[in-house]
Subunit: 198 residues, 2 copies
DNA sequence: CGAAACGTTGACCGTTTTCAATTACAGTGG
DNA sequence: CCACTGTAATTGAAAACGGTCAACGTTTCG
């Protein structure tokens, strides 16, 4: 299961961690990384693949917690908890880096710049998620697509865009052309849309 | 506009800030707290009321960013930015506390415990928002309600619950009774529902 | 050139929203 | 203690909307 330390880009401030704080490894589909209640020893950076985090409620039901994709870190809350609060399972073959929790915690006190950058990262994530939540709170497909487009979501494929805003790709396409027809957005070329400048 | 310093409970780690870092004040409906581009001097705790944060895209459209309710802090990203990235306007008469940004930043380096607790708060918010996002990603009303219920959302009124999970209250009621009929949840008394223990 | 992957559109169907009423309950004042 | 009022909880029916299925156009790339 353990592979080599070939990882390029950890997000700030994690690139500044000493090598011995990092462990790279792979998981195959279905493999479990940790279970709810396990002793928390690390947080994780997902280089490639997809991890599903689920929580078990007191009543015994399973509740989705997070779907991490390439580039995400997860289990950050484990920094401040003795145990993990959910299960983490690979839903795709995944390449990860474990970031030692205790090294991070001590670096937070020893290196103010590290702490500052970590706080910055968290704050920026909070901001991002709040915005996503606001977009998803828009019930009308037309307004949701428009808001998401205004907010710069549509960078790559339309399918991914559709996915991010919780709409079927068909509904997204329909809405997009509808917006073009209404003149609220323009379509410079196939697969590219942009909000019309005022 | 400036009122008195009668605020009880700031969330950790902000209760440990010195009084001179705090300024309590009120806003009436429609009043603006700050505008996108203004110099960022503070982050805010909303004691009571409701604040709407919106961003102006390059194209000139307005994109919702966050709706803060009583108990929320907002504009945390301002800690790491010279200016605010959005407008903040009161949509209800609101009572706020401004938390001086520079005091917070210097306390972060001077007081490791403060920095640690701040990071913990942010990490926990990230966790919370991710969970909310996962709940909203469930398209079926039945499963979404069930997951939200499992996750302990329904504490107060059903209407508020409905609101949090982006479902009409009628759909929520219907789904709730449907879940009761199916035996997946139980209803000890009017307006109270709970997931059946396994 | 042909196969994928992405983009696009139409039709149909199921679900949720919306609108409209009705019922339950808590609090208030007589 | 009761009528009175307001908020919350329910239920019904019709309309709107988005999801799904199916088919087709288009670009990319080996």
């Amino acid at each position: 299961m353990k592979s080599q330390t070939v990882f390029n880009v950890l997000p700030p401030p994690f690139e500044t961690l000493p090598p011995q704080a990092l462990t790279a490894f792979d998981l195959t589909v279905g493999e479990t990384l940790f279970l709810q209640g396990d002793t928390a020893t690390a947080i994780y950076f997902l280089q490639e693949g997809e991890m599903r985090l689920v929580r078990h409620s007191e009543a015994g039901t399973v509740v989705p917690v997070f779907e991490a994709v390439a580039g995400d870190t997860f289990a950050e809350a484990a920094l401040f908890s003795p145990t993990y609060h959910c299960d983490a399972v690979a839903v795709k073959r995944s390449a990860l880096v474990a970031l030692n929790k205790h090294v991070i915690l001590s670096k937070m006190v020893d290196d103010p710049e590290f702490g500052r950058t970590l706080a910055k990262r968290f704050a920026s994530q909070v901001q991002t998620y709040r915005r996503k939540l606001e977009i998803l709170a828009i019930s009308s497909a037309e307004e949701r697509v428009f808001a998401a487009l205004s907010d710069g979501y549509l960078t790559g494929k339309v399918v991914d865009f559709a996915d991010e805003i919780n709409l079927s790709q068909e509904a997204t396409f329909r809405t997009l052309s509808q917006l073009v027809r209404k003149g609220r957005i323009e379509k410079p070329k196939r697969g590219t849309y942009r909000v019309k400048k005022t």
